[in-house]
């Protein structure tokens, strides 16, 4: 092996990399929150007896699950800026890449969240709904007071795991030249001619973060299995 490693460009670049990490985390948090809320609504629509709602939700989820995230992001960089500019009369030079990325991620991930939540709702025994109805609860009350609390408890580990996946996926905003953590690392490596070191560093950071989080999820899962 004749490659000479030189890690010296990393320390000076840390503040810049941290700015990138903040972008990654920001996109992740927004997309997780929106994804769970919209995903829950989609799951309830899909399970509802109202046919048009169920069909809309099924179509939405299947469409987003069938196309690559990269394609979704490209669509959103193409369309959303135009729509936003039109709707809010923005200056053509306003940078809406971050907003587009967030909307794209949120709409895409909600399809995946909706499937997790649907499975969670279905894992609650049917008798529970009967029992709630027998006590006079309406469908909405039965959902809110009896089914969803149980479903979410079962789903916490899966929702967190999906959040870890999402965090990894945020690196794909690279396609819009947005400086998230990975984008920042790439830029520094490219500037200093030290792509090898910066890519390995980025990989190591992602690994440490995601691995520790997944260990936390695993422990949580074990604790829940005991109760």
């Amino acid at each position: 092996m004749n490659y000479e490693f030189d890690w010296s460009s990393i320390p000076g670049a840390l503040p810049f990399l941290w700015e990138g990490m903040k972008v990654s985390l920001e996109i992740t948090v927004i997309a997780v929150i929106f994804g769970i809320v919209w995903g829950t609504l989609l799951a309830m629509m899909r399970l509802s007896p109202v046919k048009p709602l169920a069909m809309f939700a099924a179509g939405y989820v299947n469409l987003f699950r069938a196309i690559p995230l990269v394609m979704v992001l490209l669509w959103f960089f193409l369309i959303v800026p135009q729509v936003l500019r039109g709707a809010f009369n923005l200056d053509p030079n306003t940078d809406v890449r971050l907003t587009s990325a967030m909307i794209g991620f949120a709409l895409f991930e909600s399809a995946y969240y909706s499937e997790i939540i649907r499975a969670g709702i279905q894992s609650v025994p049917k008798g529970q709904v009967s029992a709630a109805s027998a006590l006079g609860m309406s469908y909405a009350q039965a959902m809110r007071l009896v089914v969803l609390p149980q479903a979410f408890r079962n789903m916490v580990p899966l929702l967190l795991t999906q959040a870890i996946v999402l965090f990894q996926d945020t690196s794909l905003v690279y396609v819009s030249a947005l400086a998230d953590f990975f984008g920042a690392a790439y830029k520094v490596g490219d500037r200093d001619g030290r792509l090898v070191e910066l890519l390995l560093f980025a990989g190591a950071v992602y690994f440490v973060l995601c691995f520790s989080l997944s260990q936390v999820v695993r422990r949580l899962q074990k604790r829940m299995a005991m109760v």
């Binding site: 069938a66 794909l172 890519l199």
Partner: protein
């Protein structure tokens, strides 16, 4: 905002004149399919091997397999791809990296990196499915195999794996679909697969909606074909009277 739809654009010749835009699109589709299928072969082979290792009663071996899975699962695909493509050729020993860079044309370099990357990335997921398939079998199965005088490898070969693979066909279907979707990430290293051709078309034709709609529809078609294919496999591999065999 008015947009001039022009679906006829696909029939126009490309600037170099040797094909049409439709031709570009189809060549992208071909690359996506070839890349995904070859990566899938790697993923299945490596993933099965690692999946078996994870379940063997040997701390060292199952530990290696577990570490393997963690590494490939906790680093974003894009980062893995860049490491395979930009880092590995630099640091490979014995001049292998040099030969990779000098002897292969750029397109082959991109294709090989993308294939290996997708293969390894997916193999970690396949490994977990195979492991849970093996673990889902009743414990008595393994003992029954051993009691019949099979060695451990024979027990895997004749008793555990045939059943485990049937159990994991449905989850593997979604991994197989994922490999097609994930292949779009490889457009970032310049590989002209389907998503990249879509982008190129936008740049050349200035008809973004037609290009993206066409690419999106092609991905949908890939999805449907794969699902139908896997459904056939699922039906064929079904074990009568076994749970999930309904």
């Amino acid at each position: 905002m008015s947009y001039n739809w022009n679906w006829g654009i696909f029939g126009n010749p490309v600037p170099t004149g040797d094909t049409t835009y439709l031709g570009w699109m189809l060549s992208g589709l071909q690359t996506t399919v070839l890349l995904s299928l070859s990566a899938w072969v790697i993923a299945l082979a490596l993933g099965s091997l690692m999946g078996v290792l994870r379940t063997v009663p040997h701390k060292g071996l199952s530990g290696i397999a577990a570490a393997y899975v963690e590494v490939f699962r906790n680093i974003p695909l894009l980062v893995q791809l860049f490491i395979w493509y930009f880092v590995l050729p630099e640091v490979l020993p014995f001049g292998l990296g040099e030969r990779f860079k000098q002897d292969l044309d750029p397109v082959t370099q991109q294709f090989v990196s993308a294939m290996v990357c997708l293969g390894f990335f997916t193999s970690a997921r396949v490994c977990e499915q195979v492991r849970s398939g093996i673990n889902a079998l009743p414990r008595g199965q393994k003992n029954a195999g051993l009691a019949l005088g099979f060695t451990l490898p024979q027990t895997y070969r004749y008793v555990l794996l045939p059943m485990a693979f049937r159990l994991v066909v449905p989850p593997l279907t979604s991994e197989f679909l994922n490999i097609f979707k994930n292949s779009a990430v490889c457009s970032t290293i310049g590989l002209l697969e389907l998503a990249a051709q879509g982008r190129q078309l936008v740049d050349y034709t200035a008809q973004p909606y037609e290009s993206f709609i066409a690419v999106t529809v092609l991905y949908l078609i890939i999805n449907i074909v794969v699902m139908l294919l896997m459904r056939v496999i699922e039906t064929r591999s079904r074990v009568p009277g076994y749970i999930g065999g309904k």
